[in-house]
C-alpha cells in the first residue's frame, strides 16, 4: 500500500482519464451506437420475420380449412341437387305413367263404350233386319199359307208363339 501511494502519478491518471473519456465518447458515438442499434434492428427483423411466418402459416391453415369446408359444402350441395333431380325424374316418370294409364284407361273406356254402342247399333240393326226379314218371311208364308184357311190360322198362331219366345 505504501509503495502504491508512493508510485502514484497524477500525470498518468490525468492522461488516462482524458484518453478514456475520448475513447468512450468517440467509440460510443461512432461504434457502439450503430453496432448496438444494428444488432437490435437485426433481432427485431428476425423476430418480425418469425412472427409473420407464423401468421402466414396460420393464414395458410385457415385458407386450407376454408377451402375444404367450401369443397365439402359444394359436395353436399351437389348431392342434394342430384337427389332432388332424381326425385324429380322419378316423379315425372310416375306422373307420366299415371297420365298414360288414365289416358289409356279413358281410351279403353271410350273404345268399350264405342264397341257397346256399335254392338247395340248392330243389334238394333239385326233386330230391324230380323223383324223385316220376319215380316217378309211372314208375308211370304202368309201369302202362301193363306191360301189354306186352316193352315193360315195354325201358322199364325205358331208364329206368334215363336215371337213371344224371342
Amino acid at each position: 500500500m505504501d509503495a502504491l501511494i508512493h508510485d502514484f502519478s497524477f500525470g498518468l491518471v490525468f492522461w488516462q482519464l482524458i484518453i478514456l473519456l475520448i475513447v468512450i465518447f468517440l467509440l460510443g458515438k461512432f461504434a457502439w451506437k450503430p453496432i448496438v442499434n444494428a444488432l437490435e434492428e437485426r433481432e427485431k427483423g428476425i423476430t418480425d420475420a418469425l412472427a409473420s411466418a407464423e401468421k402466414a402459416k396460420l393464414e395458410m391453415a385457415r385458407l386450407t380449412n376454408e377451402n375444404e369446408n367450401l369443397l365439402k359444402q359444394a359436395r353436399e350441395e351437389r348431392d342434394v341437387i342430384l337427389k332432388e333431380a332424381k326425385q324429380l325424374k322419378d316423379k315425372i316418370i310416375a306422373e307420366a305413367k299415371d297420365a298414360a294409364q288414365t289416358e289409356g284407361g279413358k281410351l279403353i273406356e271410350q273404345a268399350k263404350r264405342e264397341i257397346e254402342d256399335q254392338k247395340l247399333k248392330a243389334l238394333a240393326e239385326v233386330k230391324n233386319q230380323v223383324s223385316t226379314l220376319s215380316l217378309d218371311i211372314a208375308r211370304k208364308v202368309l201369302t202362301k199359307e193363306f191360301e189354306d184357311q186352316g193352315k193360315q190360322e195354325a201358322l199364325v198362331a205358331d208364329l206368334m208363339k215363336d215371337v213371344k219366345l224371342n
Partner: protein, 380 residues
C-alpha cells in the same frame, strides 16, 4: 486474385497437415533444443558465482521495474553492457513553466537533466528534483525525500493505453461500417469474433443487471469491457506492457463507474442509502453510514481487484521465467528452460482466462452497480 486464393488454400491445407504431425514434431523439437542448449550450459557454468548472489536481487528489481510505469519503451536490456533496446518517450514537466524533452536525456537514470536552472534525476522510474550533482536524500523507509515536479509525461502506460484505444477504434469502426449496408450484413474477419462479444456484454451483463434502460450504459460498458480485455491481452504479449496492472488506470475506470452510478441514480437509490425503508428508525441511523461507505467500497473493490489480479499474474509469469536463471545450476540450463517454459505455458493459459475474466467481472459488477442505482423499486 484467384492465384492468391489458391495459395491461401494451400497454406491452410498445409497448416492442417502441420497440426496433424505437430505433436511428434514438437517432441522432436524439444529434444533438439535440449541438445543444442547443452554447449551453452557449459558456458553458463563458468559464470563466476559472485554474479549468482546478485541475480536474485536483479530479478526482483527487474520484476518491480516491469510492474512500474516507465519513461522509456523498453523491449530488452543487456545488463552486461547496459544497452537498452527500445525507444524513449517524451517527458512533460510543469515546474516554473512547461518542460518537454526526450526521456533519453536521463540515460536511464545515469544523467542529471538541467532545464531552466532546475535539475531533474530519474530514480526508480520516478523523476525527482535534485541539485546539479543529482544527490537524492532518503527517509528512514528508504523513500526519496526530494521534491517531485508536476509530471505529465507520456509514459509507457499512456502509450499502451493509446495503442489499445487505436486498436479498438480500428476494430470497432470497421465493425460499425459493416452494419451501414444494413443490419443483416454479417461482419467478416475480426468482426465475426467481436459481434458475439458485443452481444455477450449486452445479453449477459447489461440487460440482466440494468433492465430496460440498458441502452444508455452500453457505450460505457462495451468500452470498458473491450478496453480491459485488450489491455490484459496486450500485457501478455512480449511488448512488456502492463497497463491494467497499474493502479492508475483501474482508479480511472472505477471513478467512471462511481460517477456514472451516482449521477444516474434515482430517488430510490438515495433513499435506500440514507433512509432505508422497511426497517425500524434506530436501524436507519445505523444503516446509513454503512450504506454511504458501501458507495465508495464498491468502486474501490473494482479498482483493487483488477489491479491485483493483473499485477499478480505478471509477477508470477516473470518469476517463473526467472527459474531459467535461478535454477540453472540445480536443473542444468536445458532443464531449467524446460521447467520454466512448461510452467509459464500453463500459467499463460490461466492468464488468458484471467484476462477475459477480469474484463468480464469489471463490466459485470459495473453494470450491477449501475443497475442497483437505476432500478425501479417495488414499494415496500
Amino acid at each position: 486474385m484467384r492465384n492468391k486464393i489458391v495459395i491461401l488454400r494451400k497454406i491452410c491445407h498445409n497448416s492442417t497437415l502441420f497440426k496433424m504431425v505437430s505433436l511428434k514434431k514438437l517432441l522432436l523439437l524439444l529434444a533438439v533444443i535440449l541438445f543444442t542448449v547443452n554447449p551453452f550450459r557449459l558456458a553458463a557454468e563458468t559464470v563466476p558465482t559472485a554474479g549468482k548472489t546478485s541475480s536474485k536481487e536483479e530479478i526482483n528489481a527487474h520484476i518491480q521495474h516491469h510492474l512500474k510505469d516507465d519513461y522509456f519503451f523498453n523491449f530488452a536490456t543487456n545488463s552486461k553492457t547496459g544497452q537498452s533496446y527500445g525507444f524513449p518517450l517524451p517527458v512533460i514537466l510543469i515546474d516554473n513553466g512547461l518542460h518537454i524533452f526526450s526521456s533519453s536525456e536521463f540515460d536511464h537514470g545515469k544523467k542529471v537533466v538541467e532545464k531552466d536552472g532546475n535539475y531533474y534525476k530519474l530514480y526508480h522510474s520516478k523523476i525527482y528534483k535534485t541539485d546539479a550533482a543529482g544527490t537524492i536524500t532518503y527517509d528512514e523507509k528508504h523513500h526519496p525525500t526530494n521534491a517531485k515536479p508536476l509530471d505529465f509525461s507520456i509514459t509507457k502506460n499512456v502509450v499502451g493505453l493509446l495503442l489499445a484505444a487505436l486498436l479498438l477504434f480500428l476494430a470497432f469502426l470497421s465493425l460499425a461500417k459493416t452494419y451501414k449496408k444494413g443490419p443483416n450484413n454479417i461482419p467478416t474477419g475480426v468482426g465475426r469474433v467481436l459481434e458475439p462479444l458485443v452481444l455477450y456484454v449486452r445479453d449477459e451483463m447489461a440487460v440482466p443487471n440494468i433492465g430496460h434502460r440498458y441502452k444508455e450504459f452500453m457505450p460505457y460498458l462495451l468500452s470498458v469491457f473491450f478496453l480491459i480485455f485488450l489491455l490484459n491481452l496486450l500485457g501478455l504479449t512480449p511488448l512488456g506492457l502492463n497497463v491494467t496492472g497499474n493502479i492508475s488506470i483501474t482508479l480511472c475506470l472505477a471513478l467512471f463507474t462511481f460517477f456514472i452510478t451516482n449521477f444516474k441514480a434515482n430517488k430510490d437509490y438515495w433513499k435506500h442509502i440514507f433512509w432505508m425503508p422497511g426497517v425500524p428508525v434506530p436501524f436507519k441511523f445505523i444503516l446509513a453510514p454503512i450504506e454511504v461507505l458501501g458507495m465508495f467500497t464498491k468502486p474501490f473493490s473494482l479498482m483493487l481487484r483488477l489491479f491485483a489480479n493483473i499485477t499478480a499474474g505478471h509477477s508470477v509469469v516473470m518469476g517463473l521465467i526467472a527459474i531459467i536463471y535461478l535454477f540453472q545450476h540445480q536443473l542444468t540450463l536445458g532443464g531449467s528452460i524446460g521447467v520454466s517454459m512448461l510452467l509459464t505455458l500453463v500459467l499463460f493459459f490461466l492468464e488468458l482466462l484471467v484476462a477475459f475474466l477480469q474484463a468480464f467481472i469489471f463490466t459485470m459488477l459495473s453494470s450491477l452497480f449501475i443497475g442497483m442505482a437505476v432500478e425501479e423499486h417495488a414499494h415496500h
